[in-house]
Amino acid sequence: MQISVKEKNGVDICYIKGEINIDTSSQLKKVFGEFIVKKSRKILLNFKDVEYIDSLGIATLVGLMKSLREIQGTMFLCNLSAKLGPVFGITKMDRVLRIFETEEEALREFYGY
């Protein structure tokens, strides 16, 4: 799994490539930990190149959402592929996490226009 972070007008955009699974989710947890340390309050996860996510991967997203709640931060997700959609549906994550089709749409929501 590869992770890269780009800051765009106060939003930390996290690009993830590969599988977020039991073996790789700790890498993601580390990056998320850094977001919390520097008090990032606007985080966007771009899932364009995520091939698979397992239960540990989803739990890692939950962990970040919990931490963000404490600092009044927000996390959105975008570019979720069709094959990963159902996983977010069956775990009901799509009810607690806003998922946008494109990065632009998510950023517009962050910027409030």
Binding site: D54, S55, A59, M65, A82, G89, I90, V96
Partner: protein
């Protein structure tokens, strides 16, 4: 002469680049179409499986755990990557046959009559019928596990009463993953067993209900299984509190 040859060469080169561009564009288009088909195929598999799940219980995290538990067992057994991939995508479809079992029986909270129990058992053969004649490797695995995930190592399972290695490996793997998950999940008619308690119950059934090699593989990965179990608990409680 020389000038004409050079001009011909230039024309040939430019035609070549033109063709190359056409080939590249066509390839890109085909690849995009292929990726879209592959994507929607994977999506439909999960949605299809989910339909069966909605009939049976309130939460779909069972499907995620089944995929994750069976992946862990397959890895511990050192199965080829391809098989692990098939199992991961096919495992959520093991109960697809429940789609055709009447709700009145499936959702009955009190005990089933012997006749009703026989009807429930049919979800295995009906499930495998759904995939009859498929040429897709994933759906072939789905067919196999639909049919055999209720067989028992000692031959007392259903629908065929297969024994030991007569039961396909994928079926033996899902049998354990499915039972372990049922043990650790609360149902309308029973409380959930704790993680360690359920592990002990699986150990106890080694050689009777389950293939001892698969029990060993499962136990080898016990801490990772615990991580999966805990992860889905965390997801469920987070979603419920929101």
């Amino acid at each position: 002469m020389g000038t004409k040859k050079a001009a011909d060469n230039t024309a040939r080169k430019s035609r070549y680049f033109e063709y190359e561009a056409i080939v590249r564009d066509t390839y890109q288009e085909l690849k995009k179409a292929y990726d879209e088909i592959k994507e929607s195929y994977a999506e439909m598999i999960f949605r299809f499986a989910l339909m069966a799940e909605y009939k049976d219980e309130a939460t779909g995290t069972h499907l995620v755990r089944i995929a994750d538990y069976s992946t862990e067992i397959a890895k511990a057994l050192k199965l080829p990557k391809k098989d692990i991939y098939y199992l991961r995508y096919a495992s959520p479809m093991h109960d697809i046959g429940k789609l055709v079992i009447p709700d009145a029986i499936l959702k009955k909270e009190s005990g089933l009559t012997p006749e009703e129990r026989e009807i429930v058992k049919k979800h295995t053969t009906l499930g495998s019928e759904v995939f009859k004649g498929t040429r897709s490797p994933i759906l072939k695995v789905a067919k196999l596990i639909s049919l055999t995930h209720h067989e028992r190592w000692d031959g007392t399972g259903y629908p065929q009463g297969l024994k030991g290695r007569q039961i396909p490996l994928f079926g033996r793997i899902i049998a354990l993953a499915d039972v372990f998950d049922a043990l650790t999940t609360k149902r309308p008619y029973k409380e959930a067993y704790g993680f360690d308690e359920a592990i002990e119950m699986v150990k106890h059934e080694s050689g009777t209900h389950f293939d001892p090699d698969i029990v060993n593989a499962f136990l080898k990965r016990k801490e990772r299984i615990r991580m999966i179990w805990q992860a889905t608990k965390d997801i469920e409680s987070f979603v419920a509190e929101k």
